[in-house]
Amino acid sequence: MPPAWIRILAVAALSIAALVGLVVHEGMARDAGTEVVMPMQPVDPQSLLSGHYVVISLQAPLAPGQACPPGAETGILPNFDASMRKPRWVALAVGAGRHAQVAGVADTQAQARRFAPLTAPGDAYCVASVPDAQGFVATWLGVDRFHLEQGEAQRVADAMSPTSDHPAPVAAILSVGGDGRARVKGVIIGAQRIAPNWY
């Protein structure tokens, strides 16, 4: 058996190689995936312990007369508790400008592909429209935050705030890879795209 110092160096080298490999693999998968844009709802974007980030809380209003996507969880009071999420598949219909909306939800990827070819693991909850209130679809695709520099995170927070002087619609730019996973590429505030290079 080699001496301890060589074993230590080997473990360190392997660990570093594994982390570098993870970064390269994720970067390549993000670049190679299908890019979609999905609207977000405002959530407090900063955490002292976790740095500056935008919470990716995907939520899109239902158009007038639009029904809930088939297979989506429904109810008057949506319970989207993380611990209650089921491992399901969400089918995304991509329209103009890569804007995506939930086409349907199913228990398997094959079933979800009947709604639309682009699928990702996740779940969706829908509140149907009623005469006095517009319904919405809340979607979870396994991505929950996007880290930004402090200044940009603050700018996004200001734009998303209901009391903002210059409110702007905010959307997430996602990449759905060949492995079916969704990854965050950036955010769009109004017409500005914030998607930093991976390096």
Binding site: P3, A4, W5, I6, R7, I8, L9, A10, V11, A12, L14, S15, I16, L19, V20, L22, V23, E26, G27, S50, G51, H52, Y53, A82, S83, M84, K86, G142, V143, D144, R145, F146, H147, E149, Q150, G151, R181, A182, R183, V184, P196, N197, W198, Y199
Partner: protein
């Protein structure tokens, strides 16, 4: 406080003066005792300077973190890990195991930080639980490679954190997962016995208790299940005691912590009990407390005696709280426990005689 060598120096003066030790042997006896490693002022100042320089560097990096490109941040976190592991390897090669152990422990935490920060720097979506398990595996690899008890303790800690951080633990919708502690705690116990490491034995024993807690929470164990876990921990505590009596010091932490865990589970089992099981549980509680006091006195183990006393005090308080049972019933519980304790004491004395 005077070192052993300084104390021996003074004692030798007395022993030589009183003729117990030949004067010519004084120097030989003193030289046979290694002097304690004492840090001189210059070395102490160098250490203080090193620590302050490290704090200054951390503050500087933190102040400019946002301005750093992603690759620079990544290189920094990898460099911290690689540097500490490399320094550990250097000290290991130089034959300084304590310094190597400390640096490898630091490297284990640096690797955990690197995993978390890499996810943040490059916005890599991942499961917090998987990241902590990965940190545990990395720490365990460092521990095995460098025979580092500190890194092994860190590994147990990371695995325990991964087991308990998962929100799925409390979900009714998920199936039965397996806690990593079921593997990590026994492995740490085996390493503690092999390396004769008391601190690692402490971590392993706590890991076993934590694994039992995880199982009880995961299964939403009913009182009978909690009693079963208490019995299992009690048996393992007895095994630890047996090991300690055979001269294996690492058995001590298992004896102590698992006894505490067993009593905790037994007490927990009594929360949701209904009559007539409550009375039996309370009698058992008082008897266990008394038995632990006797056992602790016999073994000259203060922690076990303390556990027994604590158990008795809380048990009596709970019985008093249970007065819904009625004063007569409470009186009967105390009387029954007292009789059993007296009979057991008499039997032990007769056996000793």
């Amino acid at each position: 406080m005077a070192s052993y060598k300084e104390q021996l120096d003074r004692d030798l003066d007395r022993w030589v003066a009183s003729g117990l030790v030949p004067a010519e042997n004084r120097a030989a006896i003193l030289s046979s005792v290694p002097g304690g490693a004492r840090m001189d002022a210059a070395t102490a100042l160098a250490w203080v300077g090193g620590v302050l320089a490290g704090v200054a560097l951390i503050a500087f990096v933190a102040a400019n973190w946002d301005a750093l490109p992603r690759l620079a941040k990544f290189a920094l976190v990898l460099g911290l890990y690689g540097g500490s592991a490399g320094a550990g390897a250097w000290f290991s090669r130089a034959g300084r195991p304590n310094a190597a152990n400390g640096l490898l422990t630091f490297a284990a935490f640096a690797l955990a930080s690197a995993i978390g920060l890499t996810g943040q720097i490059f916005d890599i979506t991942g499961d917090e639980r998987t990241a902590l398990y990965a940190a545990g595996v990395g720490a365990a690899a460092l521990a095995l490679a460098g025979r580092s008890s500190g890194a092994a303790i860190a590994a147990v800690w990371f695995v325990a954190a991964a087991d308990f951080v998962a929100v799925k633990l409390f979900s009714q919708t998920e199936g039965l997962d397996v806690a990593g502690l079921f593997l990590a705690a026994p492995a740490a116990a085996a390493l503690a016995a092999r390396w004769k490491s008391g601190p690692l034995a402490q971590a392993a024993a706590l890991g076993v208790v934590a694994a039992a807690v995880w199982l009880g929470m995961k299964l939403h164990a009913p009182p009978a299940g909690l009693i079963g876990l208490a019995v299992a921990l009690g048996v393992l505590a007895a095994a630890g005691r047996w090991l300690r009596e055979r001269g294996e010091a690492v058995g001590g932490p298992f004896y102590g912590w698992l006894a505490y865990g067993a009593v905790g589970f037994y007490v927990g089992a009594g929360i949701d009990l209904h009559q007539p099981y409550t009375i039996a549980h309370r009698i058992g509680w008082l008897l266990i407390g008394g038995a632990l006091v006797a056992l602790g006195r016999r073994d000259r183990t203060g922690s076990i005696t303390g556990l027994g006393v604590l158990s008795l005090m809380i048990g009596i308080s709970v019985v008093m709280y249970d007065m819904g049972l009625g004063l007569m019933t409470a009186s009967a519980v105390f009387l029954g426990a007292a009789i059993v304790a007296a009979v057991a004491g008499l039997m032990l004395r007769r056996r000793a005689a």
